[in-house]
Amino acid sequence: MPHFLKAKCVAGVSFLALAAGIGPAASEELLIATWGGGVEAVWEEAFAKPFKEETGLDVRIVPVPTPEAQLRTQAGDPQYHAVMVTYPQGANLLKDGMIELFDLADIPTAAETNPDYLMRSEDGKLAGVSPYFMYYGIAVNTDLATPEEFSSWSNLGDEKWRDLLAITRPIYLSSYDLPIMARAMGGDERDPEPGLDLLKKVAANTLTTYSSIAHMNNLLTRGEIAAGPYYSGRVWHLRQQGAENVTMVAPKEGVLMIPYMLVVPKGAKRLEDTKKFLDFVSRAEPQLRGSILGGYLPLNSNAVLPPEAEEQMGMTFKELMERVYQPDWQYIAEQERDRINMLEQLIGAVE
């Protein structure tokens, strides 16, 4: 083959390889999908950077609106090595066979996680790791309301908050708001009826549905709304960024505990490196860094929350654990579609 022709062939093949995304750059980093709105920054500092320092392996945190959607739409050809999901989403992914399963020997530090929050398949394999949890309480804009005015979940139903609340999308309403409001009103996730009455009143007071973390952050800090059910870690992060007019309230009936999972899409490449990362995020030290930076509460049993974190939270870790409610996430995941349909109709009928 003439030299010139050979060079052209090499150039052509290289171009095609680059176009197909088979370049070396694509395989150099472990890609982790998380939510945006500040979540990615905490992951970068608390987990990705220290991991690289220790192992030399590059990790890139990619913020996406719905990590679970990325995992599902890329089924068969996953682009991410691991994806952050909520516990009920993890349950649905496990049920649909869309994630890799591991033995405890693959991720030995996972043994330090409270076993109640380690999701396993029927044959006892790990469906991923659970590095931390947030609690779901009421975020309040202190320019418009006092924290005491939301000491109970039922306060959200008071008429004085008409057009001054925001709620989340139906998918999260079904997983978070309904179970905790049901619990607060005497029911639970299996008996949601008492919660539906309260949720109807809350919907009547609602100005808008927030579509992303950034959206709710904006509504809260600008004072477009006075309050809304929200995640503790997000309020923590907002306050760290200087939003002194936003605070988190843990109502007297309790708060919902939302564990988060890092799962690996079925067929993802570089499984060995990903296992190392999963093992790293299961450790106490990076989880505690996540607590300081983002208010994520560690699930490693050996992690001891520093006093400044407890001060920021307004209670001790022990006090918080006494108030958190951990529902049957498997049941919530199974009921998801029916509950979403029910809640859509409930909101649609509100005057």
Partner: protein
């Protein structure tokens, strides 16, 4: 040169070459069109199949729910309103641009400038202006005109304002492109026959620019029916539209069959408006051709 070579050359330079040239030029478009048609058929078919059998259950479920019927009707109502407002606001702008004596491209840059900014950022911009803590409400409160903020967003008004802002350039460009092809001598003829300027506008210019209005209306209406970002960010809790519902089914609940059903209904809602408008456009063109001849 052999005889075969000559025959080949003759073939490649004769009428056959022209035909082959056209076929080759059309091939990429045909592949795209084929893929599009197959996808649309597959999309529609999946909404009629449940557990491997033909079924209308998704459609009956949809129309049996009052909230879904509201979403469907709201989508059509809002899209029509947005299209009408775009005509009312866009026509004078297009007319002024047509009349402009200077460099029209500078004005065109102003019209399309907002497209350089992300739709999310533009929509957030409206929150800063129309929100309960926005510029207008702050001014009204400062002036002592209102005690409570006036609701200008997180309701249908907000959605309509946001969509008009985003889609009006399409209307302006559609109308202007027709105006630029108008023969200005028609206006002169009208004036020389004693018609006043408003008579000339209503009896000559406006009828001749109706095709631009119709094209713009179709574009704006169709894009409004599928809007997602604006209804999500500027709408209230009861302002769901078909686009937002489809987004939820695809991205959050992964119910692709339901999303296909919603897409098909949206397609029908689009056709119900676009087909009559196209017929009207054709009739008008024929009518004007007859009058012209």
């Amino acid at each position: 040169m052999s005889l075969t070579d000559q025959a080949f050359k003759k073939k490649m330079h004769g009428p056959g070459r022209e035909v082959w040239g056209r076929v080759l030029l059309l091939a990429p478009a045909m592949v795209l069109l084929g893929l599009f048609c197959v996808s649309v058929v597959q999309l529609i078919a999946s909404s009629f199949i449940e557990e491997g059998r033909l079924s209308l259950s998704l459609y009956t479920d949809f129309f049996s729910r009052a909230d879904y019927r509201d979403i469907f009707l709201r989508t059509i109502r809002v899209s029509m309103l947005v299209a009408a407002l775009c005509v009312l606001l866009g026509y004078p702008v297009a007319y002024a641009m047509w009349r402009y004596k200077g460099n029209r491209s500078h004005l065109m840059i102003l019209i399309i400038l907002p497209w350089l900014v992300s739709i999310v950022v533009r929509t957030y911009g409206w929150m800063v202006i129309l929100g309960p803590k926005g510029l207008i409400n702050e001014f009204l409160a400062w002036a002592g005109l209102v005690e409570r903020p006036v609701r200008m967003m997180f309701n249908t008004t907000g959605v309509v304002v946001g969509l008009v802002h985003i889609l009006i350039p399409f209307m302006i460009i559609s109308i202007l492109s027709v105006m630029l092809h108008l023969d200005r001598r028609l206006e002169e003829a009208s004036a020389s026959l004693g018609a006043r300027s408003y008579h000339t506008f209503f009896r000559v210019t406006l009828p001749l620019t109706v095709p631009g209005i119709i094209t713009g209306t179709m574009l704006v209406y169709l894009m409004s029916t599928g809007a997602i970002v604006t209804p999500v960010l500027l709408g209230g809790v009861r302002d769901r539209m078909m686009g937002t519902q489809m987004y939820q089914e695809v991205i959050q609940t992964f119910n692709f069959q339901k999303a296909s059903m919603l897409a098909f209904l949206l397609l029908l809602a689009g056709l119900a408006v676009v087909l009559p408008l196209q017929m009207l456009e054709r009739k008008l063109s024929r009518f004007m051709d007859q009058r012209g001849s």
